[in-house]
């Protein structure tokens, strides 16, 4: 329990002489047997961007949640602006000028932007005055920081990047001086991420303090002033960013040397395995999201589909995987037409040799309430090897799960643990292992490394390359341009439900791809 002085919610006057916005001393936090934070010390200088890196489960989010009053430390001390404080709840943190953008957004989906911004910070019992004030304030913040969001749009209609801006606006609206961002770029496109960093720079220049948690060392190098590394609940080291390198950080995080570049041999394409022709798909609301997409994938090659999130990738993937009916066009797998028709078409396609690593592992690829072994057979439970007839042979399933665990180094190596208790990276490995070990002809992969630490990223990338080299046809969808470029043998860019261009990963530069992703097609323009 944090202790010391009783005064809590008074924002401390800036004590002269201290240039630390935040000092954490000997913070401890346990969740049952898990010691998530061990004697953590951290000092964050005022007016800087302070990065925090660490593997999945290192305790970064926990530490920040303690700072934000969401968790109570078992012991330790928090000093804000030179004053020891007790932060009992988020309200205290807000009063101390601490704002947080959570890893999983804390937004009400069916509220408007304004409603989300004023929630909890209303000025009066009636909403009208608060709404009016917030509208003015949002206009000001939009101008000042470039944080543009339509104030009356429903949050659920916004792109992820815009939703994140709403989170930042929430914090700024409450007058936050210290802004914590927990993995803000995990779900952003490069352009959105760039924009975010511009915003953060502006904020820093205005004297605000920013704590940034990320798995992307490139970002750390680009924006932070100092960086702290956490490993297994401990604070390993804090460094000046200018005096370190990605390689050093990676080694500190993981405890061993990590290869940050993907090594792959040139592709050796074979027969056409998957052919998509003039595919048209509508979303649940009936809006057309895929508008006549065609491409082919050959054995032994990786086709990367690049694009800003929300341009039809999800619907495209789901349709190819048999989860969503096509409204037009055909899909051919191994020469057989397999356009989705029934609700259980995904199972049929699996039997035909198609495997699918979904974009959203938590909602789709896994049942978090299931044991690990149960997830190891999700989608394949009907196969005879898990029992003939109606019965499910648990032994066979567990044996398979064990194999996955060993081969993919899933930790903890326990088939009887609820999947929710695995870290994000390990959850992703459970999905990958399941889909890859099936030995499919075609593998569809969506956002394989979202929210995964670099150690795991390296592993996952190598697995995907291995699959390719084993002669599988692979479709990779990712918003990470780096990932697309380093893994793919060919790249197509999806914009507004259409393929607007194709690029060679060896030669295409980021700028060219970026323009394509924004819907600007130079080549087409040139032809006309």
């Amino acid at each position: 329990m944090t202790s010391l002085t009783p005064e809590t919610t008074q924002r401390p006057e800036v004590a002269a002489g201290t240039d630390f916005a935040i000092e954490l001393r000997k913070i401890n936090k346990r969740f049952g047997p898990v010691h998530a934070n061990k004697d953590i010390d951290l000092e964050v200088k005022r007016g800087t961007v302070h990065g925090i890196v660490g593997e999945n489960g290192a305790g970064k989010s926990t530490l920040m949640s303690i700072l934000y009053g969401f968790y109570h430390a078992d012991s330790g001390e928090i000093v804000v602006g030179g004053q020891p404080v007790i932060i009992n709840n988020s309200s205290d943190a807000l009063h101390l000028g601490i704002g947080m953008v959570h890893q999983h957004f804390m937004l009400v989906d069916n509220f408007t932007v304004i409603e989300n911004v004023i929630l909890g910070a209303e000025d009066s019992a009636l909403l009208r005055p608060s709404v009016d004030k917030a509208r003015r304030e949002l206009t000001r913040l939009a101008e000042e920081y470039g944080l543009n969001v339509p104030p009356d749009a429903l949050v659920e209609d916004l792109s992820v990047g815009q939703q994140q801006r709403v989170e930042i606006l929430k914090a700024l609206y409450r007058g936050a001086d210290i802004l914590i961002l927990d993995e803000p770029t995990g779900v952003l496109t490069p352009a959105e991420a760039d924009h975010l960093f511009k915003v953060l720079e502006t904020l820093r220049n205005e004297g605000k303090t920013i704590i940034l948690i990320t798995h992307k060392l490139r970002e750390i190098m680009a924006i932070t002033d100092r960086v702290s590394v956490m490993r297994q609940g401990e604070m390993v080291k804090t460094l000046e960013t200018s005096e370190t390198s990605p390689e050093q950080l990676a080694e500190l995080m993981v405890g061993r040397r990590v290869l940050l570049r993907v090594h792959k041999e040139p592709a050796n394409p074979g027969d056409v395995k998957l052919e998509v022709k003039d595919l048209v798909v509508a979303d649940d609301q009936g809006t057309e999201r895929v508008k006549g997409v065609s491409f082919t994938v050959r054995a032994g090659e990786i086709l990367g589909i690049a694009g800003v999130a929300g341009n039809g990738q999800s619907e495209l993937l789901e349709t190819i995987a048999g989860m969503r009916p096509a409204n037009g066009g055909t899909i051919t797998l191994n020469g057989e037409e397999v356009t989705a028709a029934d609700e259980d078409y995904a199972a049929f396609l699996r039997r035909k040799g198609l495997a699918h690593v979904p974009e959203d592992r938590l909602r789709m690829g896994l049942v978090t309430n299931f044991y690990e072994w149960e997830n190891a057979i999700l989608g394949y439970h009907d196969e005879p090897r898990y029992g003939s007839g109606l019965m499910l042979e648990i032994k066979a399933a567990k044996a398979e799960a064990k194999r996955h665990i060993e081969k993919f180094d899933i930790r903890p190596a326990n088939t009887d643990l609820k999947t929710a208790n695995f870290s994000g990276g390990n959850q992703q490995k459970i999905v990958l292992a399941r889909e890859m070990e099936r030995d499919p002809d075609v593998l569809i992969v969506g956002q394989p490394t979202r929210g995964v630490d670099i150690g795991a990223i390296e592993f996952i990338h190598n697995q995907i390359i291995k699959m390719r080299d084993a002669g599988k046809a692979i479709v990779l969808v990712s918003v990470e341009l780096d990932e697309i470029r380093s893994l793919s043998d060919r790249i197509v860019v999806l914009f507004d439900g259409q393929i607007v261009g194709e690029a060679d990963p060896e030669t295409a530069d980021e700028g060219e791809l970026g323009l394509l992703m924004a819907g600007v097609n130079n080549k087409k323009a040139a032809v006309q």
Binding site: F31, Y68, F70, Y71, H72, N89, S90, S91, D92, A93, L94, M100, H102, M106, L107, V108, D109, N110, F111, E115, N116, I118, L119, G120, A121, E122, S124, A125, L126, L127, R128, S130, K170
Partner: protein, 324 residues
């Protein structure tokens, strides 16, 4: 023509009376469920409140004091529901089921012990009951064609509780969409974490919602025993709490739609009373039971045909677990 009109009006009058307790219970459920707490226990609260109201109205001779007692009883029920589902993160459905059993058992048991009438309370008369309120000139205008029956019959002549029920509808809409409390209420049912990280207490807000729930359903219970009937009798809620819940889902947790859903149920019930034992054109005489099943059959058909998917508040039914 006149006969048809007066028939129609009397049908609508019945509809309004029958709908009153449904609307109150339905709005009550709306506050609870908008705050993320399932309320299967509306039935029990109606029953408990009806008992409390009838008992105290009888003892004091005042319907108003009875009303307060009825509200008190259902507030107490809400309190238990809150303890179970907010503090102890219990299963909200099972808590509601328990409260229904508790109300059924306790009201009859206490009634039997106190009044020795097998759980029924003595009949109320005079000020111990809510009487009809007549609008100015209602009597004078009653003879005027069309306007007369509409004004004197349909609008005038209900008890105060009916007017409260219908006023509670726009009031609820106003609260939900125009006030700070409404904003927080809606957010806590959708995503309690959002409210929590905004520095507000989820627990306290949910209790506030349950208090409103208790109050509204309490008025509904009092209506049953001190306005519609004139005493409490065993299990007199007769499934109205469940119908209110159905109406709430039907209305997709929106106040005006909730009112219309309740009015629809009321209308079908009124119609059913009216059509029993009568020859229908083309069909002939239909068994009583078929007429009585009509409201429920129609509900199912409407639900399947027109209303579409009802998407509940996302946080509904999930206890808010705040790890510390």
């Amino acid at each position: 023509m006149d006969a048809i009109l007066s028939d129609l009006i009397s049908l609508l009058i019945t509809t309004i009376r029958v709908s009153t307790p449904l609307i109150l219970a339905c709005l009550a459920g709306l506050y609870s469920e908008r705050a993320g707490i399932i309320d299967i226990g509306l039935e029990g609260k109606l029953l408990g409140a009806a008992f409390g109201a009838a008992t105290v109205a009888y003892l004091t001779g005042s319907a108003w004091i009875g009303l307060i007692a009825g509200v008190g009883v259902s507030l107490a029920f809400s309190g238990i529901h809150g303890l179970a589902s907010i503090n102890f993160r219990g299963n909200q459905v099972i808590s509601g089921v328990a409260l229904n059993f508790l109300a059924a058992g306790l009201t009859t048991f206490l009634g039997a012990t106190w009044f020795a009438r097998g759980g029924n309370t003595p009949a109320l008369s005079g000020d111990a009951r809510f009487g009809a309120i007549h609008f100015p000139f209602a009597r004078e205008l009653s003879g005027v064609p069309v306007i007369g029956p509409l004004y004197s019959g349909l609008l005038s002549g209900h008890t105060i509780l009916t007017y409260i029920a219908f006023l509670a509808v726009p009031l609820t809409a106003w609260v939900l969409w125009r006030t700070r409390f409404g904003l927080r209420l809606r957010s806590v049912g959708e995503n309690p974490k959002a409210l929590d990280t905004a520095g507000m207490s989820v627990m306290w807000l949910r209790y506030k919602a349950l208090m409103i729930t208790g109050t509204l359903v309490g008025v509904g219970g009092a209506y049953l025993s001190t306005a519609q009937a004139a005493s409490f009798s065993n299990n007199m809620a007769a499934g109205r709490g469940f119908i209110a819940l159905a109406a709430l889902i039907f209305a997709k947790w929106r106040p005006f739609q909730a009112m219309f859903a309740c009015l629809l149920f009321g209308l079908l019930e009124a119609l059913q009373y009216r059509l029993q034992g009568q020859d229908l054109p083309f069909i002939g005489r239909v068994p009583t039971q078929a007429m009585q099943a009509l409201p429920y059959v129609l509900t199912i058909l409407l639900l399947a045909g027109f209303v579409g998917r009802a998407i509940p508040p996302k946080g509904l039914g999930q206890p808010y677990v705040k790890e510390r």
